[in-house]
Symmetry: C2
Subunit: 351 residues, 2 copies
């Protein structure tokens, strides 16, 4: 698969010195498949003790965690903070202290023999809600809507930055899902390349449109809403269902019913509707599978200045119910042990 | 990505009744990306107690495991057995008792609304070496060569079966890598579709050849052999190196130096040379990372009756050193925390 590396400004980007000894990372391309990997040696410095240190008692006997008081624990300065009239914060966003991509490097291709790499330029931020114990599945609709507010705010701020062509927004919950801290937090990574999986979806949606003159996600959404068997919950604006070709057991997708390629254009009213459906979907996974580890992420169009009229943004929630073993790694074919229809029926019972 | 579903015989395949209550599985296609998933509900029946049951004492106090005496533990009848003159077996192959694909179903597409599925037709076999405790990294060259013998024997037998167009050969070691039993075993899955990842490599190699009139794997192999920095071990026929765009820390690839698209055409002499290089590569991971969980698999050309002159078969060894979290799941971009050059230097020190 060829990755779009156009639209990259080959001039130097800001060369801020690392604030905490983190190193610039490198994007390397697989010359067979065109896929990218990130070699981020700075991330290996994350102390292993984090797992134990994340809730420690201070000298007054009060428990603290790295994200409960980000200033005291030496996180990077906030780029966004939501607070009430009394100044009590409810959500804040700051750069990741161990970034996978950063503003440390110069941009531009770097050849080595037959290979090709480029510096890992971009933004890597952490979106933190205040309560250490209240994770997303336990929040009410307004609290969840505020998280989506923050995603949108940061997206809108970063999408026009130099060398940012794609923004990944994702959330890891539980160690098995790769969360290194239990304090609820989402992450946002703004990068210069359009990643392979989004590229597959963009191309697939485009091809489907060319053949059928319809958005493939609209077709799915309408079919699922009529068919009902795989629906977990829906309102007039959004639908949550277990996809026909679920890759993992209890996978849930959340889609807007009305066609829209761009998450960042969501209205405040829609965010409330989204939060309702998302909360029901995630909540049924939380209750039904006894708080499993999970990942979710937003698939939206790139921000590379081009139009993606045939894409349809959505959220994919993947409970961590299985391990990728040799067959999956070799083939890219996932094995799921429950029919999505059965999974959806079970989740509906947990609403 | 479109999957090749030509070359499938749409007539019924053998309809053997399940011997142990296992169910036919289903291949479902993602209509956006063209990717496949397997819904294998029968595999959910694998008892969770396996992990505890795999080494139990019999009434004489002798420890037994399910694969040490496959006949006594009720495995399927052998399809291949290697034994010495006294009849003592060293390796045996039998159908997986909880198959992901099987001969239970009829073949052919099954539409549902806008979607598409087909029965999970194919062969799923287990390749078991005798010693419960001696895993591949501990075997000598001849013992490893015998495992490759078995891979080749089974490949040659299955490649011409009806509806078999691709054969995945893989090995999972350790629970974190998805091995459900610790007894050393490889698996082989013969399926009707060419899987997405192999398709990417086949297409990539073809495209590279069209642009450069050279095999991309030959280019890599020659460059690495000269450059040395990423080489772990090599002899005159094979090379083991950490790939430039390693997806995981300490990833090692093993390639024949002489161009060959088809693993199954390997000669006995080459198998010994392969076993030497493979053992050094895997052995250095075993020693260097203190017996980590790992997966390895053979990437070879499909057996769909077409020619793949520009592909170059190889083995990929992936130590389980990280978890796919939200970013990897969303983007398909892997994050590795060590440079392949540093990893190779470390592994060379463990030869």
């Amino acid at each position: 698969m060829q990755i779009n590396i156009n639209n990259i400004d080959e001039k130097e980007v800001e060369k801020e010195l690392p604030k905490n000894g983190s190193q610039a990372s490198e994007l390397r391309q697989d010359i067979v498949t065109g896929d990218w990997v990130v070699i981020a040696t700075g991330r290996a410095k994350r102390p292993d003790v984090f797992a134990n240190l994340e809730r420690v008692k201070d000298d007054k006997g009060i428990e603290r965690c790295l994200f409960e008081d980000p200033v005291a624990s030496g996180q990077e300065p906030d780029v966004l903070i939501y607070a009430d009239k009394e100044g009590e914060w409810s959500l804040r966003v700051f750069p990741n202290k161990f970034p996978t991509v950063s503003q440390l490097a110069t941009i531009g291709p770097k050849p080595e023999g037959p290979y090709f790499s480029m510096p890992g330029v971009g933004f890597h931020e952490v979106i933190v809600t205040r309560d250490h114990f209240k994770h997303l599945a336990m929040m009410n609709t307004l609290e969840v809507a505020e998280v989506f507010d923050a995603y949108q705010d940061r997206y809108l701020d970063l999408m026009n930055k130099k060398n940012v062509n794609f923004i990944a927004i994702f959330h890891n919950h539980g160690k098995e899902a790769g969360a290194s801290l239990t304090h609820p937090h989402s992450q946002l990574m703004a990068i210069p390349v359009i990643a392979p999986y989004p590229r597959l979806e963009l191309d697939g949606a485009e091809m489907y449109y060319r053949s059928n003159r319809q958005c493939v996600y609209c077709v799915m959404t309408e079919y699922e809403s009529q068919f009902k068997e795989r629906v977990v919950f829906e309102n007039d604006e959004f639908i949550a269902f277990c996809p026909f070709a679920s890759r993992v057991a209890f996978e849930v997708w959340v889609l807007p019913k009305k066609h829209s390629p761009y998450f960042e254009r969501i209205t405040d009213e829609q965010k409330i509707k989204l939060a309702e459906v998302f909360s029901k979907g995630l909540g049924s996974i939380y209750k039904g599978l006894n708080d499993p580890a999970y990942n979710f992420y937003i698939n939206t169009s790139p921000c590379d200045g081009k139009d993606y009229p045939h894409f349809h943004w959505h959220i994919e929630i993947l409970p961590h119910t299985s391990i990728w073993a040799g067959f999956e790694l070799e083939t890219g074919i996932e094995i799921s042990t429950i029919q999505p229809e059965v999974a959806a029926e079970y989740l509906r019972g947990k609403l």
